[in-house]
Subunit: 334 residues, 2 copies
């Protein structure tokens, strides 16, 4: 089925109000969940919503919490998320970083004790909508083995980078440090398909494209093998050190659920140096050059980061957002 | 053969003085080249030195150039590298970023019109030695196809992240966005070995571990396939927009040589919030947790980013730096 964007917001909002959020927070958070689905990231929109509600019920997410400033020095700030709603906290974090950047070129907000931000790209789009370059990342629970290891002790720690274009069609990269999410591996298995590239190890310790084999070991692959393992470790440590929050190690030691995360939000305002049309022209030059590549498959267009999102957004805004019946029924019954 | 660290510096310095560098610049640049080899990154130390001299002779590198400030706004600065020596300019860039960070928590220096910085890790170690978190990257000439493309239109754009430890054994990640450098692929071919993981495409369009097959297409793989392709594009655009320098596209359009690059140096001073022992304890907790992973091979230790460098540095300082006879002879004859 397809649900209209506004109807989806209203439905989420109804439930969040019931859970005790303020009118404003319920709307803002619902809008982010709906936008994630609108943009085609269903895994962190409508499909994730029931689990977030479960986390509220378990007491991991405090519906009344507001982020608090812990320390500030120049363009650098440390905030405590007080275990509030992850998407509200993250939006707040990037918003603060943007405010600082407008004042001093760059702003960095480290946010500890927060919760899953859902789709990281949200905060990249947010920075770019404000005319800023955005760079942000989050740590996660341990869900991937470090390179050379069998057991999962590092996070897939999504990293986001965005560059503004004045037509709103920003360049937004949103990538986890694992080659595939657990959800994607599951999805391929259910469809009876092999992964497009290797995604993890089988029980014999060989890399494989068979999702069912990977599910036997859960030894998923970092992007670039040892390289993504290293990036994940560095991102986690920087987030921990700057926020004084929990590391992936700390999160893993607590319990099997994922809460109390550490995040970093960086905003840089290029308009301090460039007129918007100058930034546009630099971005466009590079995108045009790359899109003019010789494609591997005749018909296949070379896409830049964020390009597909814009097409999906337009389509879902017109036709409604595709949702599995069972998931929507579950949400309606909440 | 093995060459003592100080002897290597002196030999490089002799040649750089002959090429017209000032006493101070010749020493500083030589020391960086020698340190790269000392730390085991021979490809961007002694082995690269002759090519840099050739670039000086071709006029790509201006031995007298000094970086100039173009714009500054708060914690953000734009500098023109004036096509000076890449490692001197990059050292200067990170140094400025550190100075700004000491004053306002964060410093970002965008450096355009510079040259190859050799080993990116150098500037990560530099930031960490100053007690700062360092994040920096450079663009490169087009040397890798974008995801879905056959021809090389994106750079391998190395990314560096470092976190300081007060014992000097910093966490330093230094990773290009290609799975393997051209040099590494060549090295495996010469040794008659397959790459440890897939590194590119063969002439049939299949991913392969055979270096000789990859050399037929030069369709090398980005880390994480589509993911590293996206990261490379984002890093390039951010460096271009902030520095107003050349993009990978611009560099590619000029000629087949790699000069006039764009770079970004970010320094963040965690000591504004944490006593050094607090940062140490957070870093150590994570490293200990990861190093306690269950290894895939009984005897193989799980390493954190930068760990191997420290061991190599100690060994090469004691025994001298290993150099191929032919390369050293060539340098001695310069």
């Amino acid at each position: 089925m397809r649900i209209k964007f506004d109807d989806m917001i209203n439905e989420f909002k109804r439930i969040l109000l019931k859970k005790g959020f303020s009118e404003e927070d319920a709307y803002t958070s619902s809008k982010i969940f709906a936008e994630n689905s609108l943009d085609g990231v269903y895994s962190h929109g409508v499909n994730r919503f029931p689990r977030v509600i479960a986390y509220i019920d378990k007491g991991y997410i405090d519906v009344k919490a507001k982020p608090e400033k812990v320390e500030a020095f120049g363009s650098l700030e440390r905030w405590n998320g007080n275990r509030g709603m992850g998407n509200l906290n993250a939006k707040f974090g990037m918003d603060r970083a943007i405010k600082i950047a407008k004042k001093s070129g760059v702003g960095i907000v480290a946010l500890g004790n927060t919760n899953h931000w859902m789709r990281g790209g949200t905060y990249g789009w947010q920075a770019a909508d404000a005319g800023c370059i955005g760079i942000c990342w989050t740590n996660t629970m341990p869900n991937m083995p470090a390179w050379g290891a069998k057991d999962r002790k590092i996070g897939n720690n999504p990293l986001v980078m965005s560059i503004p274009r004045s037509n709103g069609e920003h360049v937004v990269l949103d990538t986890a440090m694992s080659q595939f999410s657990y959800g994607k591996i599951e999805e391929y298995k259910l469809r009876g398909k092999r992964l497009p590239v290797v995604g993890g190890y089988d029980t014999k310790g060989e890399v494989t494209r068979e999702p069912a084999e990977i599910e036997k070991t859960w030894r998923v692959l970092p992007i670039g093998f040892w390289k993504g393992s290293g990036i994940s470790i560095a991102l986690d440590i920087i987030a921990t050190v700057l926020s004084s929050g929990y590391s992936t190690a700390d999160i893993g030691k607590k319990c099997d659920d994922e809460y109390a995360l550490s995040q970093v939000f960086i905003a840089i305002d290029p308009s301090k140096f460039n007129a918007p049309e100058m930034t546009d022209s630099m971005v466009d030059n590079t995108l045009k050059y790359i899109k003019n590549s010789q494609p591997v498959e005749e018909e296949r267009e070379i896409l830049y980061p964020g390009e597909r999102v814009i097409a999906t957004r337009k389509e879902n805004m017109e036709k409604g957002i595709p949702v599995e019946d069972s998931i929507w029924e579950r949400i309606e019954s909440m």
